[in-house]
Symmetry: C2
Subunit: 193 residues, 2 copies
DNA sequence: TCAAAAATAAACCGATTGGTCTAATTTAGA
DNA sequence: TCTAAATTAGACCAATCGGTTTATTTTTGA
């Protein structure tokens, strides 16, 4: 409160740095340097590196959830096109840093899923809340007869987002959106009613 | 040749350890300990940690390619069922260690894609060679009228395997095969002719 | 206005990192 | 059989790791 350093600014730096470099590859010192704070201040805000990472995941998860809510509410397209535009936006977003970072949640889940109960749990929690929002749009699409009803909204939203996560592998090793665009076209043809 | 330590044994240990723990989270000392070799021997075989990881990727990529060739050649099922059984086998394989490790190639691509040109290149190379083998089966499935021909063999094999990679996220944070099984059922209904 | 609490600042800590060095041992080929 | 090369062995290195400590400054509320 009115103090020199701002917790949210540190979390934002942490988001950027960890998203790009991963959890284990990033040291506290790098965070300190990029955020411009001394170590004492960091450990005043956060109990440990793991606690910091957990709060970064929360910060990003919640921010992204608000963003998601907004674009779904304000969309003037039909449900299926709302979803397709949403994934196109995500691909565009990844193009901005030359396809080298991917998604913090996907990265964290894959990197620390096995090792850190705390981080895996937080990761899953944020992911699940995103999926609920996506599932709502899928349900509307099914009610409108646009999206296949051979599978439930939960199954389809899961299928969509995990499929999207799968494209990050080739995106990163090829530094290209080609595969993501193909995935988008194929998936939305498949889930068509 | 006939010396005390065997390079392939060290690579196998490296595969197990790095697949499970990731690249940055694993130190040389851990490899030495688990492989039972002193540091001097390690650096006699490998130039650096990065060189070691590269050879681990090659070792695993080539081994897996042989395995893939074998099960595709020996399969007595139709092409589409050969593929479905193949992915079921992969899920079963991940169940063996309680869904905590995933695929070395996917892990490496996601973790080091941005950071290490050497490792990303090797990862992509091995992946591409797997995909060629899968694409051959897809082509046969299309010729047999089992698999949709709305997309090319390359597009479909890419779609299959990147979709499979996408399921690793939830597998790891939930330690469950539920999502993978659902993905399998949905995907093979979608690519049906 | 002033004392208690909160936040800032950086020196410092032991443990571990990837990697080097030197010496001893084992192997291969002349 | 003997020498040169390859391999084994682990002590050693500077740098970095996550984290603690102590002292100072800033803020807060009585």
């Amino acid at each position: 409160m009115g103090y020199k350093h701002n917790k949210e600014e540190i979390l934002e730096v942490g988001y950027q740095v960890i998203r790009k470099n991963g959890y284990h590859h990033v040291g506290i010192n790098q965070i300190l340097k990029e955020a411009g704070i001394p170590k004492g201040s960091f450990y005043n805000f956060f109990e440990s590196k793991e606690d910091f990472a957990k709060q970064v995941i929360q910060y990003y998860g919640e921010g992204n959830r608000s963003w998601l809510k907004g674009i779904f509410q304000e969309s003037i397209e039909t449900p299926i096109n709302t979803l397709k535009s949403f994934y196109k936006l995500l691909i565009d977003y990844n193009e901005e840093d030359n396809f080298c970072s991917g998604c913090l949640i996907n990265n964290m889940g894959n990197e620390t899923g096995r090792l850190y109960d705390v981080l895996a749990k937080e990761t899953k929690e944020q992911f699940d809340q995103w999926l609920d929002l996506i599932a709502d749009v899928v349900r509307k699409g099914q009610e409108a007869g646009e999206i296949t009803d051979r599978f439930s909204p939960t199954e389809i939203s899961n299928y969509l987002h995990s499929g999207f996560y799968g494209t990050f592998f080739k995106m990163k090793v090829e530094r290209s959106r080609e595969d993501m665009d193909t995935w988008l076209a194929m998936t939305f043809e498949f889930i068509n009613a």
